[in-house]
Symmetry: C2
Subunit: 204 residues, 2 copies
């Protein structure tokens, strides 16, 4: 240990980095490999349901997790953003940066957002080290999402009451090479979450 | 347990909240009380040095921590912001929201920012439950900070090269009732960090 660093009377910022707590140190304390599990898919595809189910399973297994979704981001950090294309890009950019900071804290981050643009998701992927970004495509068809229309948003979008609605009046760009594809028409949320848990055990 | 909640075939968002992993669940797993330890003070006051020293001590004690400072926020989440008054307000607002999300994840968050405006710091305090925001005023005088001028910023600010510089060309509003006041002229960074650790043991 460098003895100079033991002297706290030295001015700030001089080589102090050498002893700082690092992301590796924090991950070691959690005993897990920090990753970002990023759900993308249409509104109503089942992202939040599966994400919550996944977090319950990981938490029950003793993992340190954090779930980011519209509920805790849109009313706080991104409350100044609307739903124009520009604001949606900034929405995902900020969430990506927060997810990165949370992996630096040692957490397994679960993010559930429509995140319709391929380029935005790629930006988040590139913020992280290779293998740390796990893109989960919740592949529920527009027809099925619109049939469910759980929050009544599709009917409002069709009526023109909600503008810039993904799948109706704004594009959704499906992932080209997602790490995981989930088919909610043939698997329950519980089964979908198990698929992700298996992936984590095998690949992380 | 509500049996309806066990059926994963039900549409998303129907009462699923009841079984979601909560901030309380996440804090229980870390075995600690999540708080935000917020350092405020002039540039060069010693915030980062003490914050890093504090994180080392807490980490060594097995606590799950995350340090937010200019290094990991200004180049990422807040890279779109400058140093005008408006941008400084938004800078602190976003950091506060991220700190809140991190306490929801069960972490002890250490934030080290000049954060010159009283109102901004109060906004962060109000994001959190009572007792969760611990304001630490690093009370190093302007004269002393300028004498140290570790990064050469004060001379540049005096020369007008850096505009909006806190203490020179932009105001610093000292806290009126901070939880902790640190006097770096009479205590080392190590002693200052110990003061905070004692506060946490006694008050949190």
């Amino acid at each position: 240990m460098n003895t100079i660093l033991m002297n706290d009377d030295i001015p700030a910022n001089i080589q102090r980095q050498h002893e700082d707590v690092s992301p590796v140190d924090r991950a070691r304390l959690t005993g897990q490999t920090p990753v970002v599990i990023w759900f993308t898919g249409l509104s109503g595809a089942g992202k939040s349901t599966i994400a919550n189910c996944l977090e319950r399973k990981l938490h029950a297994g003793g993992h340190h997790t954090m779930l980011l979704d519209g509920d805790n981001v849109r009313h706080g950090l991104n409350r100044d953003l609307g739903f124009t294309e520009q604001d949606r890009v900034e929405n995902i950019r900020r969430i990506g940066e927060v997810a990165k900071l949370m992996t630096d804290a040692g957490l397994i981050v679960i993010a559930a957002f429509i995140s319709p643009f391929r380029g935005d998701r790629e930006l988040v992927r590139r913020l992280l080290a290779p293998g740390m970004f796990i893109e989960v495509f919740v592949n529920t068809s527009l027809d099925e999402c619109e049939r469910r229309d759980i929050k009544g948003l599709y009917s409002k979008a069709r009526a023109g009451i909600i503008p810039h609605f993904t799948g109706i009046s704004s594009p959704y760009e499906a992932p080209e090479r997602p790490e995981i594809v989930l088919e909610t028409s043939v698997a329950t949320a519980d089964e979908c979450a198990d698929t992700i848990v298996r992936y984590l055990h095998q690949s992380v």
